[in-house]
Subunit: 344 residues, 2 copies
């Protein structure tokens, strides 16, 4: 069997500070489109790749236990939607559309047993979920973070940072469906308009235009915040702690404002965890497989009825992947950032 | 009915920074030893007063919602053991020994309905709990923080800061009874010896002698920490976050290292909450009345059998109260700090 071209986005070297496009190279590798005899590998043609904030963490040399890190000279890895070209694994067959962990390249030979924990076994050909990258991993993240970690009650006050992002926009809609009052912060007028006009938030503000976040939060939440869905960390978290209500919950999904800093910003108001008996809990969606069917049961009808919508930012072509990924950390994307490698 | 002398410790003015003895005055008030006709007040003769770290918070002008603050010119308030001299309340009668919220003075007229939430209704005359100040509030705090917030499992690794303090020493013993590996930090050789030789800790260190807390924790916990019982905050918390295990829990009981600082130290490693899926939860013992009988059921047999012991630091005389209280914040006390106002 002849080899074919396999374009790849590889990490040049471990990243310090803000990632730049030049931290990645687009190279032309070669691949034989064949699953090795007797192996249980699956050969994928990658269609869509997901740009997610956590990927910055993997670009650092430090392995944050379990998060691991990328290898310089090798392609990035991340979530993607792919088509099965050939399968040595009984759960997959040629033509299946799957989503889960794959690599930033045109074709990937993935080993199911190694990546089983990453939901390669979710086939979505027949799903209404057109873009599983948008509603799949971020949706599941929003679902478990908001419902299972946040334990919302009807009428509660919910604040979401990075609210127009992949996860934030869904948390906001889930919170509205739960009967909560929902305010989000984002980094541009366009995003704020989106939150208010398209995504149904009760309020939204551009944090870059607020000189006193504490005062801003007091304006939007005169009675305080019951649930803060944490995506950014740093100064925002510090201001939020001053504005939490008794027995508030802070599901900690991400801290994107901190990932590129050599020294993270210090959070000084943690004593409010005691004063107000606040629960702050980090979570990773991978720990919640058991809730996946519950999530689908919840989200699919809402998507079908148009009660949950989704904003995506699409970059065309693998070679535009590095710019799309880097854009996450300056907030260039509006909505969930996806890279199209191929349409089918 | 004639008035008698009522020595009081009053706050001079709101405190900024470290509290000093001179922030309090010992004054001679007068009191009529009589419950007003028709009232449900209880007249107490105060015997023992409890010095607790949270009291510094009440000395600041800022009311941390629900914590409240002391009033300059008025006596401090805190937990105490008192004898009922006269009672307008059906639950108490002359001669009862009670513990709960009282004032820093010889005699107090307390209103049960106002202070009901503070366990005035726990009569201990017949209890084996000789010093209810030591095993009562701190014991209950240790119990709910460790068991209900910390959810310990046999064999887990537990780290406790301010470990020889009122709450810490009990958390350590409860953790040993649960089959955990327990290490504590404290601020002097004497306290470290106490932890290792009297209180049964597996290890203990003097944090003042450790220049690299992260390295120290890695030495005591090569496999990481499952439960960190947080009493101090600041730099210790920051080092602990680097050493937590997956799904670790941090019951946040206090942050004594921070209460005297105008600007609290910044905690920079909170992203580890995500990496390791850590739950950090502030709690206040007052929220857990419902667990009080469970606590007694657990603790009384252990005290009777000598399996839970207690180290106290006794100051004689109300006039020595300010020095005793201030000593908490420099770590002068060894064990639970109590002030004796009268022996009976």
């Amino acid at each position: 069997m002849a080899e074919v071209r396999n374009k790849q986005v590889v990490l040049r070297d471990y990243v310090v500070g803000f990632p730049k496009e030049s931290d990645m190279n687009t190279v032309e590798g070669r691949i034989t489109l064949k699953v090795p005899e007797g192996s249980s590998d699956v050969l994928l043609k990658n269609l869509y790749l997901s740009c997610d904030p956590y990927m910055r963490i993997l670009m650092s040399k430090i392995d944050h236990e379990g998060f691991g890190c990328y290898t310089p000279g090798s392609p990035l890895a991340g979530l993607g939607v792919s088509k099965v070209l050939e399968s040595g694994h009984p759960d997959y067959k040629k033509g299946d559309l799957v989503w889960g962990m794959t690599k930033w390249e045109e074709f990937s030979l993935m080993n199911h047993s190694k990546h089983a924990s990453l939901w390669m076994d979710v086939v979505l050909a027949s799903h209404i979920l057109v873009s599983s990258l948008s509603t799949g991993m971020p949706g599941m993240t929003a679902y478990v973070g908001f419902f299972e970690v946040g334990s919302p009650k009807k009428g509660e006050n919910v604040f979401i940072s990075a609210a127009s992002g992949a996860v934030g926009q869904l948390v906001g809609q889930f919170a509205k469906l739960t009967g909560c009052y929902v305010v989000g912060s984002a980094g541009s007028k366009e995003k704020v308009d989106l939150l208010k006009n398209k995504l149904g938030f009760d309020g939204a503000f551009n944090y870059k235009e607020e000189s006193d976040l504490d005062a801003t939060l007091k304006r939007y939440f005169p009675e305080g915040i019951d649930i803060y869905f944490e995506n950014v960390g740093g100064k925002t978290l510090d201001a939020v702690l001053l504005n939490m209500r008794f027995h508030g919950r802070i599901p900690v999904c991400g801290m994107i404002s901190q990932y590129n800093l050599a020294q993270h910003e210090g959070v000084t108001n943690l004593a409010h965890l005691i004063f107000k008996r606040i629960k702050m809990e980090g979570f990773i969606v991978n720990d919640f497989y058991h809730s996946y069917s519950k999530f689908l049961e919840f989200v699919l009808p809402h998507i079908r009825e148009g009660k949950v919508v989704y904003v995506e930012d699409i970059a065309e072509g693998l070679e535009n992947g590095p710019a799309a990924l880097v854009g996450l950390y300056t907030g260039r994307n509006v909505g969930k950032q996806v890279v199209v490698v191929a349409r089918d």
